[in-house]
Amino acid sequence: MIFDLNEIPAGEARTGYDVCIAGGGVAGITLAIDLAARGQRILLLEAGGQESSERSSDVYKGPIIGRAYFDLDFARLRFLGGTSNHWAGWCRTFDAWDFVGHEHIPNSGWPIRKPDLDRHLERAAKILEIPSTFADTPVAQAEDDFSHVEFQFSPPVRFGEKYLDALKASDKIDLFLNANLTDVRLTEASNRVTEFHCSNYADTTAKHTFAGKAFVLAMGGIETPRMMLNFRSQMPNGIGNARDLVGRHFMDHFHAWGGIYSAKRSDWPFKEGEETHFAPTPAFMAKQKIANAGLRMGPLTDVPRGLISRAKHSLFCNDDDTRGFARSFFDGACPANVFTGGYIRVSSEQQPNPDSRVSLADETDKFGMRRAALDWQINELDRHTIKHMVIGVGRYMAERKIGNVKLADWLLDDANPVPQVGEDRWLGAGFHHMGTTRMADTPDKGVVDKNCAVFGLNNLFVAGSSIFPTCGQTNPTLPIVQLTLRLGEHLAENFKG
């Protein structure tokens, strides 16, 4: 059933739910559908409506402090389906390497391993409408260093659209739209959650109360920590924040311009005109002491249509850099364009850094909750990773006489500043907000345990990419769905109706 909280006056508490979920995005909808299928009675709260609206998006606004980032209400969408509404559909699982702690990557390591997620791969793939196989292949003559990694592409699934009818028809799920979480109430001992409090846009001070056995925060990698830090009515530092870890270790995948490549067409072993993906092998990452990364090489210009245009493209260098390369290293002669060239971009895993964080701004939103302030940080390991991926591929190409790589200027000297988002269309991040309620074995290292339960609150759970302790090089949606199905299994076993 779907209800609009804007049309419901505040009144008696709605109780009797097995699981109350805040957040109607990828994780929240996946969890609601999964648990309802297991016979549980579910509350699902979505802060927006079925479509984007200014009144809802405004709540996502907040200052960027420190390093440049995208506007927070641009990088996220606050309506049913959440950020799946602007998802591009890239899917890949985490690598086994990603779960292991590495000495050269401070704060790395998960309390679970890849098989714990792989158990849920088949079902997650069906939800995202992708094949469940990833046929990675070694890069020929660089087998020890690089692999071609395979991504799968979702249509992409827009969760609000795909599951709207199922949510409407379900007698196990109560979905409330326009329901903005304003407080999480605890027992006197502050060791269990008892209620969610919400307000609507019609009356931002009204209090709607919902109660159940278990509670899940599934609002995204910035909003979940923002709300946990805001809930101070019973805990002075916010809930789950006794160790000052909520909001810290914010990560995104840093997309950086790594340089260009040039090669003789006759030597180029990959498909010309298509993007080629490289990822480092575990041996290469250990040898170079880098984090995980994805390197992409693709054409700067598309091959034009038409005989004359194609002939020109084939006979003359197709861009200034390639022409310059030919002049520099082939005795100034470029009698015919035998070269192909293109860009190199790297999407880098970030080192978990406690100083990269979501905190609270002084300004409040229309519900009186302090807005998120984002301080995104880039580490030396992030620079080191990108630099050595580009150098590694450059060495491989030169040694194998495939072609040559030119490093981006910012990589030539470690004293050069790391480029900022917005300086160039190639620079940026993935809108992948991760790590802010990280999973750990012990409460001094993270916010949630291996079952996604907030340390110290044994019926409050977090779903979504905020629980990733490290982020690998993969897009987060598929692992979010895998982890959410794993959480569903845990909740069904431990909070039976």
């Binding site: 340089g259 067409r265 006759s266 005989l307 194609r310 002939a311 084939s314 006979l315 390369f325 520099s328 290293f329 082939f330 005795d331 002669a333 009698p335 015919a336 364009n337 035998v338 150098i391 450059g394 060495r395 190409m397 030169a398 040694e399 006489k401 040559n404 790589v405 030119k406 490093l407 981006a408 200027d409 030539l412």
Partner: protein
């Protein structure tokens, strides 16, 4: 396909002519042609660097 083949043949012919008429520099005895250098940001083999442009080695 015929158009592409023609262009490929033309390219091959031009490359062949260039290879035949432009001499490649010989490497010094203490250096290997396969040494990798960083020249103007490019990662190149020593054999790719023209002796007529020694400043490129800096």
């Amino acid at each position: 396909m015929k158009r592409r083949s023609f262009i490929s043949l033309l390219m091959a012919a031009l490359v062949g002519l260039r290879t035949a008429f432009v001499p490649r520099p010989a490497a010094a005895s203490s250096e290997s042609d396969d040494d990798l250098l960083l020249v103007n940001g490019w990662i190149v083999r020593r054999s790719q660097v023209s002796k007529s442009n020694p400043e490129q080695l800096r």
